[in-house]
């Protein structure tokens, strides 16, 4: 039993709904109580879908429990078939129905409907949304494609005298920018001379899924949903799978090379299809200020790993944290984290993520809507790179994450929240300008930070302004080490001849040092404070003066 306040993923049947809702002419009968219909609003409100999700909820009540809940499943399935006339039916249980063990898949199967009935077994007390989506898509693909499977000895002939054809696998309803990624990747493939056969599940009907095996190869756009099905197709239909996710310039180039290899095209020619502004914008001198900006990356594994690469190799940021909430893909995250020299964070506990972010003191967070809120509380910037999604993640304009245009979008959305270089310098040089107010955040940062005038500086303890009011509450209620008490790994190893100050001893900042600390831009102030205190403890000091501050700075370096 785990106490959860906010979750990154819903239950697995919500993953199944993302698949079903993305598809056409498919219907999902979900054995579930009335309240589970809340999931409809995810699609109609967050994604602004103009149709109800194709889901029938059996709506059993307490009074039905001793009686005939199985009968309800049959009735609901029959009625749903007659009303919606789908090409195929999904039938499964939500968490509650799983406990009453009606076996809805079998019940529905026994009705003898003239369409495939695909039973879903999604263990609600073990698995989560992404797994549910992946499993559902796999079951649909298996059921509908198996009748068309070639004999095991069959070998796929290369495409000759025609353009190669691929499927795009993995996009779903409620996916983070899936709508635009499909268009972007399709157009990139088109420029390379590759046609897209079927995109699935998003936009596909069961009939479309049934012809997945006709394509020459599969592109796995979202491994969280599409990889299991693609692996099965690879084994069964001998379709190679392209696994590079084209997020960022480097990955898009790798993707093009991989596609070219699989499709038998000339990679050099194909690379000309990748034209994007990101490399030049990153080289432009105004981007100098982006150098070594500290970023913390968290999301689903695919988006997080991709974002970390873009951040470090294409923006010149310093990745100070990398993590993902889906354990199924922890291996990929660990590998990427190792390359970047950071500790991987694999957790679905947002409090743990919040602590890690606080600890890493980033200047920019690339995360989900959860991290956006965390960042807001901590008074730092955030750009959203991954599901779970919010209505803002469905912009009216074309805004892919993948391919050449996706790279442009990443540059704009990540750089936008950061302060422009000159503005930052001016702020640094003229802290005492009353309009800047050295505690103020830049005007475009929405977080409600107390804007104090310098006059208040001496009264308030330095850290109290590093957090908004909400943040302070959270910090107080988080059983973490008190601010400043835990130096970063490695920092404690500083050579010192004097005995360290005992951990419990309180460090006193003298007035001048406090005032000096306030001159440091707010987004690094907390780190400076922590480093200084760690340094002071190593030196066995109990009082911190301006000298201590600068000695600490020299000791740790300015970054």
């Amino acid at each position: 039993m785990e106490l959860t306040i906010w979750t990154y993923e819903g239950p697995p049947h919500v993953g199944a709904m993302r698949v079903a809702t993305g598809m056409k002419d498919l219907h999902y009968v979900l054995h579930a109580p009335q309240g589970d219909t809340y999931a409809d609003l995810l699609f109609t409100m967050i994604e602004r879908r103009d149709h109800r999700p194709p889901v029938t909820y059996t709506t059993f009540q307490a009074q039905d429990l001793g009686g005939d809940t199985a009968g309800l499943v049959k009735e609901a399935t029959q009625a749903a078939y007659e009303r919606f006339r789908p090409q195929a039916l999904l039938v499964g249980a939500s968490c509650t129905a799983e406990l009453i063990q009606d076996d809805p898949g079998n019940l529905a199967g026994s009705l003898g409907l003239p369409v495939p009935v695909i039973p879903l077994e999604l263990p609600a007390y073990q698995r989560k949304e992404n797994w549910g989506a992946s499993e559902t898509f796999y079951q649909i693909v298996r059921t509908l494609c198996l009748p068309h499977a070639p004999p095991p000895t069959w070998r796929r002939p290369p495409p000759e005298g025609r353009r190669p054809v691929c499927n795009l696998l993995g996009p779903t309803a409620l996916g983070f920018r899936h709508r635009d990624d499909i268009r972007e990747v399709s157009s990139l493939l088109d420029r390379m001379g590759v046609d897209v056969g079927v995109v699935a599940p998003l936009g596909a009907s069961p009939a479309d899924v049934a012809r997945l095996g006709e394509a020459d190869f599969n592109v796995v756009l979202y491994p969280e949903v599409g990889r299991t099905a693609a692996s099965w197709l690879k084994r069964t239909f001998k379709q190679p799978m392209v696994e590079t996710v084209p997020i960022g310039v480097g990955a898009t180039r790798d993707f093009v090379r991989e596609v070219a290899g699989v499709a038998g095209l000339d990679a050099d020619g194909a690379l000309e299809a990748v034209t994007t502004r990101l490399p030049w914008y990153s080289r432009s001198v105004d981007s100098n200020y982006l150098t070594d900006k500290r970023v913390f990356v968290f999301g689903d594994a695919t988006h997080a790993v991709a974002a970390a690469r873009v951040a470090s190799e294409e923006m010149g940021f310093k990745v100070v944290g990398l993590g993902a909430y889906n354990r199924e893909f922890a291996r990929e995250v660990r590998a990427a984290a190792r390359k970047l020299g950071v500790e991987p964070l694999i957790t679905d506990d947002y409090l743990e993520v919040e602590e890690a972010i606080q600890e890493a003191a980033p200047e920019l967070v690339l995360g989900t809507q959860m991290e956006r809120h965390i960042a807001k509380r901590l008074g730092t910037f955030c750009a959203v790179i991954s599901a779970p999604v919010h209505v803002e993640d469905f912009p009216a304009r074309y805004s892919p994450q993948m391919g050449p245009e996706g790279a442009n979008v990443l540059f704009d959305t990540w750089v936008h929240p950061l302060m422009m270089g000159l503005e930052e310098h001016l702020l640094g040089m003229f802290q005492d300008d009353f309009e800047f107010g050295n505690d103020r955040s830049p005007s475009h940062l929405a977080a409600a930070r107390p804007s104090s005038t310098n006059g208040r500086a001496a009264e308030a303890p330095p850290e109290s302004e590093d957090l908004g009011k909400e943040g302070a509450t959270v910090a107080a209620s988080t059983p973490a080490a008190p601010d400043g008490a835990a130096p970063e790994a490695g920092e404690a190893r500083a050579t010192s001849t004097s005995a360290p100050t005992p951990a419990g001893t309180e460090l006193v900042w003298d007035d001048e040092a406090q005032a000096e600390l306030r001159k440091i831009p707010f987004f690094v102030r907390k780190k400076a404070r922590r480093n200084t205190e760690a340094f002071a403890r190593q030196q066995g000091l109990t009082e911190i003066s301006v000298e201590t501050l600068y000695e600490a700075k020299a000791h740790f370096g300015s970054r």
Partner: protein, 431 residues
Amino acid sequence: MSGAPVSTVGSSPSGCQDLPVLKERGQREVFCGLTGIIWLHRKMQDAFFLIVGSRTCAHLMQSAAGVMIFAEPRFGTAIMEEKDLAGMADMHEELDRVVGRLLSRRPDIRTLFLVGSCPSEVIKLDLAKAAERLGTIHAPRVRVLSYSGSGIETTFTEGEDTCLTAMVPELPEAPADERSLLVVGTMADVVEDQMRRIFDALEVGPVHFFPPRSTETLPPVGPGTRVLMAQPWVNETMAALRKRGAVRIPAPYPFGVEGSLAWIMAAAEAWSVPRDRVLEVTARARERGTAALARYRETLEGKRIFFFPDSQIEIPLARFLRRELGMRPVEVGTPFLHREHMGAELDLLPADDGLVLSEGQDVERQLDRAFAAGPDITVCGLGLANPLEARGMTTKWAIELVFTPIHGFDQAGDLAELFARPLRRRGLLEV
């Protein structure tokens, strides 16, 4: 509306009492009772709501509350996992551990509600027993209560009803000879303050509100207690209060000028305050309310309205819109109809030709009826609103009617605005 309405409760020959009710049983498109936590945890500021449930329950809370602020809320879900389902003894130990950690992190909590869900009900996890045990462990700092918000037993606002019912035994005994007024059902704080001022002026009191803003000062109850229901969904709470000697004052619900006046008038009568005195005290508020409503009459008069069932507030709202703004209810759906507590409303709602009252839901059939009726505006849940808009229908999100201050004279205009805005908006858009 010409002049301020001054009529109070009284059966009208044309009321809805005898109208047959269409009872439906099928797929529902409504929240479960857990959702009540969204306003209850804001109302009772020292209470924490711990749902004992599944990832679905946690996801529901997040999705339903997600549109709101993301501060650390005073609710959470103890998510049951595979290993918990293996043995019951473990489950109680696990619960003790989760609660222990939670309470040590949140020293501000005075009342902890263990909230049952469908999974906890199905496995028959005894939360009442758990509450008793935990109550002993954490006494006297924290009171621990339990109630069910499960979707197999409660529909949306019924979650508040089960919560308040669980609190009734905790209410202190009121002195038997003291008469007091208890207003039951969550209203916005600002509305409570308005009502309190009016009752004070009428010397009706002492007045207590239930649920209270702090669980440290629970309202007393006893044979001298007279109850005004502020929300139509506190039916079981009323029954529990009755067992403690409280007496309900029959009244319509305080929506619109007419409803608010009748509601206050009913309490005043119980305190033998002359009618004229009520009219005098409420005169200015009624004038303001009536003037505010007049502005919406043009937009709303004659417009046909269709209610999907949501919160049990549908019949009182239909009555308000019909009588004070001239709208034409086509179908009024309610998840549950309590004939006694809805009596005054049924008397007032005219049984217009073709009006359908429905209870329960079969959403597909109801959608068929809605499409056939072609109303000017449809009140429905968030899952239905956009799909209906996409078909050219104008909708009003039902949930906003629960999350907005709409009771009383000074909110009558705001209430009308909620229905007028979607219509006005449709008129504005040229693309």
